[in-house]
Amino acid sequence: MCGIGGIVNFSDRHDPPSLEILRSMVGAIRHRGPDEFGVYRDVRAGLGHARLSIVDLSTGQQPLSNEDDTLWIIFNGEIFNFIELRQELEKLGHTFRTHSDTEVIVHAYESWGVDCFERFNGQWALALWDSEAKSLILSRDRIGVRPLYIHEHEGRLWFASEVKAIFADPSVPREIDVRGLAQTFKYWAPIAPTSLYIGIEELPPGSTRIYRSDGTRQDIRYWRPTYNEKKVGYSSLAEATDLLREKLTRATQIRTLRADVPVGSYLSGGLDSSLIARLGREAKAGTFQTFSIRFEDAEFDETDYQRVMAATIDSNHREVVVTKNDIASVFPDVIRHTERPILRTAPAPLYLLSQLVRDSGIKAVLTGEGADEMLAGYDLFREAKIRMFWANQPASKVRPSLFDQLYPYLVRSPQQARGMALEFWKRGLDRSSLPGFSHDPRWMTTSSLQRFFSAETRSCLESNAPCEYLETLPPEFAKWDPLAQAQFIEVETLLSSYLISSQGDRMLMAHSVEGRFPFLDADVMEFCNSLPAQYKLNGLNEKFILKKVASGIVPEKIIRRSKQPYRAPDAVSFFGKHAPEYVEDLLSEQALRDNGLFDTNVVKGLHAKCRQRAANSDVVFSNTDNMGLVGILSTQLVVDQIIRNNESRTGRDIKFTTLIDRVLVSSHQQ
């Protein structure tokens, strides 16, 4: 995995990009690639790279060029089908100097132009600089596993894997974009191209952007999820099951084997990662490392299931135990890496997990993200189905009783909690035929947190409204069945915008670990998206076909588990006698006023309530109080660490081991 950063001028009136600024940019993301640093520079463009060496350790350095050094690439990611692509390209006459997948991209672009990206099966964020045409291509993988941010100003372009690298150039202004904040307090994260920062754009997933030499640009959205039911290659559930198993096996195999370093696996204790770990283990000989999070709090802990799976595959299993104090103490570092507010503390234990992986000497892990989106694992899909059924006969008492099947584990007076929940699910039943029905409850609950915004924030939003996600739905959306519609929205708003980024890439990369996601394999996704709804959500049985795939491979005890969403102790982690000082500091009236984003009195009320309730050990925070406290605290941390301090500048003095500098020193000022 790696980090990329660059600066490109779209006219000759700018000085060439500064080598020192490029050094700072790469230094800012050295955690993404601590093994080697490289830079290319000519009069118009500077391309910087921080390498985490995984494929072709000895000769895959970047920046890397084509045969005649006219085309240069910096790339963060892996193209898992690079071996097959290389064979095709060699037949077309290309010659290769290295064994890397990076070089394959360059030659693929030479042969197929911007259409090359649709042939890639993998995860990437890359920049291709054509030094003759003076044009730049930026591209991201389908789901946006790998990040890419852009800043444009008066004929100059900055781009990088993380915003902190763009901010490494002191001339780039830093200010919170309240539209991104408002989207966070509704959709859980800003939705590309909106970001949390004014002037910073996120290149959307599944996109390629072409900048011509005069700076004009063209955007191509080469991929968005589509759901056209077509039973290609199977005519029964049993056949579809076999096919899915085959595709997942292959997807896991190439992700396990196509690396010149050992690849391990996360084990959450759930179905998805258990299956992937098994398939990974079978792909290779020798030792296989697995890694899990254990929680001190029984409510969140899944140790038993993790150990059962580890024993089943006889892996070298390692665990990290996470306490509430751990979460509070790493939280500022977590936010320094997410560069965005978060509404749940779930990324924090994952930060500690990747640290364990790194300490164990492993650079890459398989993980199960994507299964819930691709195969309908979330409760949201089941709830939406019941709500829609209920909406067809709103007066029915029987229809809503289906909710009993969803939550058999409700601890306190199940009837009481159920009765309450029904009142909330009843909202908006009249909207059942409108897009977004599936997500209304989540968005309504989360949006209520906007009452914490300051008057300033609110008035800014009135004249500058954030984008309404539902207005960006593709025309074919209306033709899909309700489950597919819900899945589409979940992929774009939750998976791409929050889960795979804040919880995935940023937490793994914080400790220089590359995540590999078999469920996001291009072939697997295409297949899953072609399945009939009942293969995915069968009645209220979620991930129906995946459970069949896993049968015989994963212990029944794990397959039969009711869905337990991965969660960590939230707001409660920040209170108590061991709570770190920064919590009180950042939630103080002064700190809130300094940043001006939240209403000091309203936050004070929430803060006081949380403090008081935390003192009582068996009290549980409400969902909105949890999200509010964590969201406000993390926003304050973002301002503190990214806007104001941009963290410590030590470690930025990296040495470039690959340095291609075409700027003649005598003809330009540095």
């Binding site: 009765g419 009142e423 909330f424 909202r427 209520s448 004070k604 409400s622």
Partner: protein, 87 residues
């Protein structure tokens, strides 16, 4: 207890536990659910408070919006319970 005192205390509780904003006045008939003031987990806090403070008990079948979703509805429910009538 006088109705006006109940009303005052209910307002105070909702303000200091959910809204946190003294500048916002909650309408007597304003829906707590629709206005986003409480979520499904937060409403348990409200019920616990009402039961404890006003010595009333919500039976399972009484946990419907009709009985708790606005200040006026809460007052009506407490009134009925206090006089021993079924809700």
């Amino acid at each position: 207890m006088q109705t006006e005192q109940i009303r005052t205390e209910v307002h105070q509780f909702i303000e200091s536990n959910f809204i946190f904003n003294k500048k916002k006045t909650l309408g007597e008939d304003e829906s707590l659910i629709d206005s986003g003031v409480i979520d499904s987990t937060g409403v348990l806090e409200l019920i616990a408070f009402l039961e404890q403070r006003f010595q009333v008990k919500f039976e399972d079948n009484e946990l419907v919006a009709e009985n708790f979703d606005s200040v006026n509805k809460i007052i009506r429910f407490i009134g009925k319970k206090s006089t021993g009538m079924a809700a």
